[in-house]
Symmetry: C2
């Protein structure tokens, strides 16, 4: 096991009707907030009314910024930063999925910074302070509700880049599974693919001994695999929705990665896809992850055998470990297909004409490699993209 | 799943040589600390020197209180409270196992309280503030290094009682698995029994749907079951020691109990035993838990079948679920025996002459029941104690 530091300050308030606590919780931090959300879905569902009512009841003044969209845009972040500065706002409440939350985090980091907030996403600078962020989660997927991460897309060039900093962990997050009852099947499945990816990026490690966190990863994957199909069949099944929501949060709050090397190649490669094509991040991952696996599995057959046996209950072929490993990868693909995910870029109308461009961007024009499980250069990235087409 | 709130502020600093960070971390909070520990073991191992050196280097003044012992005593807590008050101390650093840490937490709660600190343990009062506590853990067992709990024994009457309050979560905890290399086999095994109990008290629930946390509990138990025998055979196996140390912490930091009813009967009953006989808490639990299971399993055979199949890999007898359930309980007993734990009170020289007294104390002379999985009255408690003899 590797040395690590683990601390997660986010207060998780989980369960039915918990959005009624927003006003009281928010008032502990601020009397004026930026309420940041996406389009009309929270208005349609009545969540917007419940949030604003709770805030007003607690005497909290609201400034609004709507319009956060999937693959949240840098331009809106900059609007938010100015809005906060102009109104003297120190607290941002994001209502929605990972897009609204990641956008809120970017605003939070940008307000006290004199430079361009994009500096944090290119690695040119690191935030030294940030406004407080809290969330009301409506889509179990990104795990942003208690993670230190934010992913933003710069429309100028189609760059999608991430920032990770403990300052960005929300101070509290409201997780009410009932808010996910109306989530369309496709979004439910995209969320599941994203959650699975967050676990697998941690699971496929070069750390030799990580037995406990291996088992935690396997447990979390099994909970997702078991409950997502139930959510798709019975969208208002509270318990299944609750399991997925809590598993999605724990999947990305860093616990599962403690003490182990991680490999975020698939996320990196997918960011190039959704940066250009604006497809759902989870759908992109469903295509990229199996392709990544096919490219790397030979470097550590044992780990893929463990994945097959423990996560997918594949019977081990002791005479042919490779067959077992491939059966595990096939099981993952089959799962994605079964929940309605595309597992080829073709299925999302992405052809092979811009693969070179994506490989260039992902490798800084071949100037660096990505990945820890297996180091990937530009050609390897290109090969994975080809396998994904 | 039940509604829940989960927040754990403790910063875990995990790995080799991490005790060298104590001074720097402590100095963020205070320039003067109470260093609280047990007997000579931290002096013998050199840990004492490394801690004091790191603190001094960071300019932190040290006031010492040694003498914390297994089943930590109220009398020493009161000495610590006076010592802190006299020296204007606001920060307590506990070095040791659960005893030193629980004792430190009691002191932390007692200093700002004008009444008798024992009030918090009888439920007569609840702490409204507490000093900051940090820990250097040397025994994976109690989970007190990131839990909100403290258990103290009042020598006046042999009462062992617990206090749970989020104010008592340590601000940081240093977990260096190397510090457990010299732990005797018996203490390693007692720790394992305590860790298993912390998970099982959460696992045996009446909450119908708790799939994700079921799986997390199972994963954590399996990590303990797999790694503790390695620790016993190879006391200096870093990886096995690390797995047990991290699993022991997560077992009791509340994550595994989120969204589910819990049943702390076995802990309650064991406290009566170690309150009187001063046996190791883990050893007492190894005798009580299987007895509790034998008393209650018929109320929910399915859960015991799941325990048998998923945790112990017992092949399910589909024609005789009860047989499967009992095989799971037997597997737990066999595991305890295999690591050198007593599974009968007799093995600890505890006879049946004071069982009635313990049942009386545990049930408030029959005035209340304990337990959530199955409600236990005085007679049920007595029956479990008899099964444990």
């Amino acid at each position: 096991m590797e040395n690590f530091v683990f601390q997660n300050k986010t207060k998780i308030i989980f369960g039915r009707d918990t959005e009624g606590q927003i006003g009281e919780e928010t008032a502990k931090y601020a009397k004026k907030v930026l309420l940041h959300y996406g389009g009309g879905s929270i208005k349609k569902s009545g969540l917007y009314d419940r949030i604003t009512e709770s805030l007003k009841k607690a005497g909290v003044e609201i400034v609004e910024l709507a319009g956060a969209q999937p693959n949240p845009r840098l331009s809106l972040v900059k609007v938010g930063i100015e809005l906060c500065r102009k109104n003297g706002i120190t607290f941002i409440l994001a209502a929605g999925g990972g897009s609204a939350i990641d956008s809120a985090k970017a605003i939070a980091a940008g307000v006290p910074y004199s430079g361009d907030v994009w500096d944090f996403y290119t690695g040119k600078a690191a935030p030294e302070k940030a406004l407080d962020v809290a969330t009301v989660l409506t889509i179990p997927a990104a795990g942003s509700e208690s993670s230190p991460s934010s992913v933003i897309t710069n429309e100028n060039g189609g760059f999608k880049r991430g920032l990770t900093n403990d300052l960005l962990r929300p101070v509290f997050s409201i997780l009410n599974p009932e808010l996910t009852f109306t989530l369309p099947a496709y979004q439910t499945a995209c969320g599941a693919a994203d959650i699975m990816a967050h676990i697998m990026e941690r699971y496929f490690t070069t750390t030799k001994c990580a037995d406990f966190t291996d088992r935690l990863c396997e447990a979390t994957m099994k909970a997702v695999i078991h409950n997502v199909p139930i959510c798709l069949k019975e969208p208002k099944n509270y318990d299944a929705r609750a399991e997925v929501m809590w598993a999605g949060c724990v999947a990305h709050n860093d616990l599962l990665g403690t003490g182990r090397n991680q490999d975020w190649s698939s996320h990196g490669i997918e960011h190039e896809i959704s940066g250009i094509y604006d497809v759902a991040h989870g759908a992109g991952l469903a295509a990229v992850f199996p392709a990544w696996m096919k490219h790397v599995y030979k470097s550590n057959i044992n780990r893929f055998v463990q994945f097959a046996a423990r996560v997918w209950n594949v019977e081990i072929d002791f005479h042919n470990q490779e067959k077992t490993a491939l059966a595990g990868i096939a099981a993952l693909e089959n799962f994605f297909v079964s929940i309605g995910m595309p597992v080829r870029l073709n299925d999302m109308n992405i052809k092979d004409d811009r693969l070179e461009e994506m490989a260039d961007k992902c490798s800084g024009n071949g100037s660096h490699t990505i990945g820890g499980f297996v180091s990937l250069d530009r050609n390897a990235i290109l090969n994975i993209l080809k396998l994904a087409v």
